[in-house]
């Protein structure tokens, strides 16, 4: 037996139930603090937004690479157990990559932005101590890897202002997905 509601109860009930959640602001959660956003907001964008203060040189990067990266990626960015980081001479885009396959997509021929290198090394590397590198160390490692790929000279010292200006060999190679404009394989 469903008890019948008085008209007053009915009205109150109407005010407290909404079927359209679009209209409601729930106010669950709490305002995010500046500190907690700053701690995690480390992403770096192609225009340089997010690059921290600091600097690092190719020669500093060479030493860091030997101690922290070569174990997985091989001496000079090749021949390691994990990804090769350096493009070989005949691996231009796209023929060299298509001919060789997935493992030939490297910083030198397939990475469109140098800023991505900084972002990725900072957030993920090295695998045995993720997130342990300092801002300066990441600048140094970025400089060294760009040098190994013949993108910068060995005298290079990188900082926020110089890193974002680097134009990568694969910069103009990427196009947005257009498959959905078709209902056939594309």
């Amino acid at each position: 037996m469903v008890p019948s509601l008085s008209s007053a109860q009915q009205k109150s009930s109407d005010n407290n139930t909404k079927s359209d959640i679009e209209e409601i602001l729930f106010n669950f959660g709490r305002p995010a603090t500046t500190e907690e956003i700053k701690k995690w907001n480390l992403d770096v964008r192609p225009d340089g937004t997010g690059l921290p203060l600091g600097e690092g040189s190719v020669s500093e990067g060479e030493i860091l690479y030997a101690t922290k990266c070569a174990f997985c990626h091989g001496v000079s960015g090749q021949g390691g157990i994990n990804e090769r980081l350096v493009a070989y001479e005949d691996e231009d885009f796209p023929q060299g990559i298509v001919a060789c396959g997935f493992e030939c997509r490297t910083i030198g021929n397939y990475w469109p932005y140098a800023t991505t290198l900084y972002d990725y090394i900072l957030r993920s590397m090295p695998m045995n101590a993720p997130g342990s590198l300092t801002f300066n160390e990441v600048y140094a490692l970025s400089a060294y890897l760009l040098y190994l790929n013949n993108i910068v000279p060995d005298s290079t010292k990188l900082s926020a202002s110089s890193l974002k200006e680097i134009v990568m060999p694969a910069h103009d190679k990427f196009v947005p997905d257009d498959r959905l404009e078709y209902n056939m394989v594309h």
């Binding site: 907001n41 992403d43 997509r105 993920s124 196009v175 947005p176 997905d177 498959r179």
Partner: protein
Amino acid sequence: MKEKENKSSKLNITRRSALVGMAGAAGTMIAKSATGKEVQTSSNRPFAPADPTKVTAKQWATKVGKRSIFEKYERDVRYTGTSSRTPLHQLHGTITPSDMHFERHHAGVPLIDAQKHKLILHGMVDRPMTFSINDLKRFPAVSRICFIECSGNLAREADEYTTPQNICGMTSQSEWTGVMLSTLLKEVGIKPSATWLLAEGSDAAVLTRSVPKQIWHESMIVYAQNGESIRPENGYPVRLLNPGYEGNSSVKWLRRIEFSDQPFMTREETSKYTETIRNGKARQFSLTMDARSIITYPTFPNTVEKGWIEIQGIAWSGRGQITATEVSTDNGKTWETAKLQEPILSKAHTRFRHLFNWDGKEAIILSRAIDETGYVQPTRETLIKVRGAGSIPYHNNPITGWRLRAGGEVVYRVQDWG
């Protein structure tokens, strides 16, 4: 060298699952190995009474249920430990058991205490907010059944003794429950100019992906999978879910979402999940999964007999609903429309069935999916012709075939990907 190791390890897995599958399917004490040799399996078979109605049961109510001791389900784990595949050929219906959901992670599975986890939304919003898992559970909840598929879901190097699990087991389906992203967008006051979000995981890769506004009306922040909390390997305690999009965009172990008017150009969406196409360019943000199907019975390692066979499988599309699945039993010369099992959900595995009266002569069976946009699942030849060989690492959805040999053995119809 590396390639060789990979191949031999895959073959071992294939042969092992072949034995398991045969023992299960045959239900007898004798099974045929992949090489055709008859092997005794009785010694490996657990004991069961001849007549269970004549013995007092040994099992009574338990706090946590288990599978029958006669059933064995295993994901196919890649040697690197960064992925595993769902045993599609062992499953029925459309829901993947949570512990059989495929895995793909870039730095292992993090150990996270849900009570300490938080999700921050910030960037182009009026009110940056932090939510605990309990906060997220207070919002109106939504459940949705859909597939998640890895865009690299194709084993190219495969011999005849290859199962559907090996070929394309990186697609799985669950009922996901959580809060609509749109609900949270209102809470934080999303700015109209925001067109991209960056989703960031709490794994050691701190994996990030940019997700465009086009999918936001369907995106969910989910905390439950098939009725229980998400499994650790699938994103515990909370993940993003972008229905129909390539799996890695549904960032697991979600801790942060930042809104912007530009994509962030992360490593995954530039150097990794992109594919070269014919015009000397690489296709980027190719997020939607095209329509695909796979026959799951009969396939390797089954054996079949002359007479009626119900060909079964799953079809799915990231563009929407499956409208038809066609089956060929003559290697593509003619096609017939299979029956689709209701309910047919958008961006979801849909089960198809087709009765085939096999005359016992060698036959090749194929399936192809058609979705609500009219898209028809292509052949391998069409994919390579249209996109070029360089596109092969991702978004391959070729028609896949199985060869019924005259003796009843079923094997994979090998395709050469070059």
